[in-house]
């Protein structure tokens, strides 16, 4: 190794050197350490010329860089060339580590929970069928959100004209809601006996002016905003 540096020493050393003979260039392994330390600590990329000027006389930064680059290949930090200078940089595939996530938990929107409920109770179900039950169109955003959460996924296509895709709930969904299977969801009768269905309007009220209608209005407004979200 030291023979190599002896050879290459001439070309790099020529500009600066009056003390050439006094000091022998450090072994290339040492030079590699030096380049490593300088690049690590420098606030800016460092050129080969500057490296040579800071390293002991007779050093060959260019050669040390070749070794160092190899050493950092595939590591969490890589040696990269920036213009005609060199710097150490985090490996691009690890850039996600330079982010600190803060997680905020929010309630699912009403549109999303309704869509989810319909899928859970009727799976496999097409978008048209969901819309049919909800009485309003289902925005892409809502479905995408549920897909992204991995609470629903695509099921088999329906054997009907257009072969529409269906949606089914996932294992994650079952895990989240503590269900063995979607069949374990309580039926309408059970919901009613559990008092979950008694939000019915009083019999005397005019249905058209009742809460059902309000609902529909509210929902369509919601539906719209969903559409503009994405």
């Amino acid at each position: 190794m030291s023979e190599d540096s002896q050879q290459t020493g001439e070309e790099t050393g020529e500009g600066t050197g009056q003390e050439e003979s006094l000091f022998e260039a450090p072994p290339i392994g040492e030079q590699e350490r030096m380049v490593e330390a300088i690049l690590f600590a420098s606030a800016e990329p460092v050129s080969v010329k500057e490296l040579n000027s800071r390293m002991p006389h007779g050093s060959d930064a260019a050669e040390a860089l070749v070794h160092l680059k190899k050493r950092y290949e595939g590591r969490g930090v890589n040696l990269v060339k920036v213009g005609d200078a060199w710097a150490m940089r985090t490996a691009p595939d690890l850039s996600f580590l330079m982010q600190k996530e803060t997680v905020e938990t929010r309630k699912l929107s009403r549109a999303a929970i309704e869509t989810l409920a319909i899928i859970a109770y009727h799976q496999p179900i097409t978008r048209a069928e969901i819309e049919e039950i909800r009485g309003v169109s289902v925005s892409r955003g809502t479905v995408d959100q549920l897909l992204e959460m991995e609470w629903i996924r695509f099921g088999r296509r329906k054997m009907t004209p257009g072969r529409p895709v269906t949606f089914v709930v996932t294992q994650d969904f079952l895990d989240h809601f503590g269900l063995e299977s979607a069949r374990d969801l309580p039926g309408l009768k059970e919901l009613r006996s559990a008092g979950l269905l008694d939000n019915r309007p009083p019999p005397s009220a005019m249905p058209a002016l009742g809460e059902g209608d309000e609902d529909a209005e509210e929902e369509s407004a919601e539906g719209q905003s969903e559409l503009f979200e994405d």
Binding site: K100, I113, R134, L185, G212
Partner: protein, 268 residues
């Protein structure tokens, strides 16, 4: 401890001190501001004894210190109160060390006081020594260095959505309840189109190997209120006729008003 000397020795050395000490004291006084308090002065004076701090003569030191203060006074140099307090205390200590112990007297003996002073001096010296060692260590930014181009950590807010089983069931029941009370609403929601019915039947006839009442093909949600039942029944019936025409199903009715039944037509 060797903190003080025998009396006869002292008498002798006191003479010596008064000569050598005058010069030292003057040198001390010149930069009295440079001292970090009386203990610092005592440490400096102690060094003139040229012995290990553990073997220092506290009596001699007291003598030296008192000479230093006297000298400062004669030079009309104002000493901080701390220095004078120490002088008074050392004078007291000196008398304790020189006079035979008075059994009447309370409190620690002269030897105990001297020992503690020796300890204080030794401790301060030790602290100075380790401070110097500490400062001589390899230091960040001087001997070793941190990353020159640190990358900042970006804060990312991630939102996760959640819902409970109760939310889910309430949403579903809200939807179903609304359907139950849809009958009076004359809108397109009460119309089950022929297209819908055809779509639905086509999807289901594969399973209709046996004769089945066509009313069982009416979708859920259309079997509660009369208007919807009517619409769904009509369109499902029409759709089944369409499928008969296509040759895909067979229909039968045993008598008037009896259920109309449907069956998949077997492949020839």
């Amino acid at each position: 401890m060797g903190a003080y000397m025998a009396e006869d020795e002292f008498e002798e050395s006191a003479e010596v001190i008064s000569v050598a000490e005058r010069l030292d004291a003057e040198a001390l006084i010149v930069d009295v501001d440079g001292f970090e308090g009386p203990l610092d002065v005592l440490l400096t004076l102690g060094r003139t004894q040229k012995v290990d701090l553990t073997k220092i003569s506290i009596l001699e030191l007291a003598q030296q210190y008192l000479a230093f203060v006297e000298r400062a006074k004669s030079l009309r140099i104002e000493l901080a109160a701390d220095y004078l307090v120490m002088a008074a205390w050392l004078a007291f200590l000196k008398s304790r060390l020189l006079l035979p112990p008075d059994p009447e007297e309370e409190g620690p003996s002269g030897e105990e006081l001297a020992a503690h002073l020796a300890f204080q001096l030794e401790r301060l010296q030790a602290m100075r020594d380790v401070a110097a060692r500490l400062m001589a260590r390899d230091r960040l930014g001087r001997d070793f260095f941190a990353r020159g181009i640190p990358e900042s950590v970006e804060r990312v807010k991630k939102v996760t959505y959640t819902a409970t089983l109760l939310d889910l069931m309430q949403a579903y029941s809200r939807l179903r309840t609304r359907d139950e009370f849809r009958p009076y609403v004359m809108d397109r929601d009460a119309v089950f189109t022929l297209e819908h019915a055809l779509e639905r039947l086509r999807g289901l006839i594969g399973f209709a190997g046996k004769w089945t009442d066509i009313s069982s093909y009416i979708p859920e949600g259309w079997d509660k209120d009369p208007a919807r039942i009517r619409s769904a029944t009509a369109s499902t019936f029409a759709a089944s006729l369409e499928l008969v025409k296509e040759g895909r199903v067979e229909l039968r009715q045993s008598e008037t008003f009896a259920p109309i039944e449907l069956r998949r037509k077997e492949e020839p």
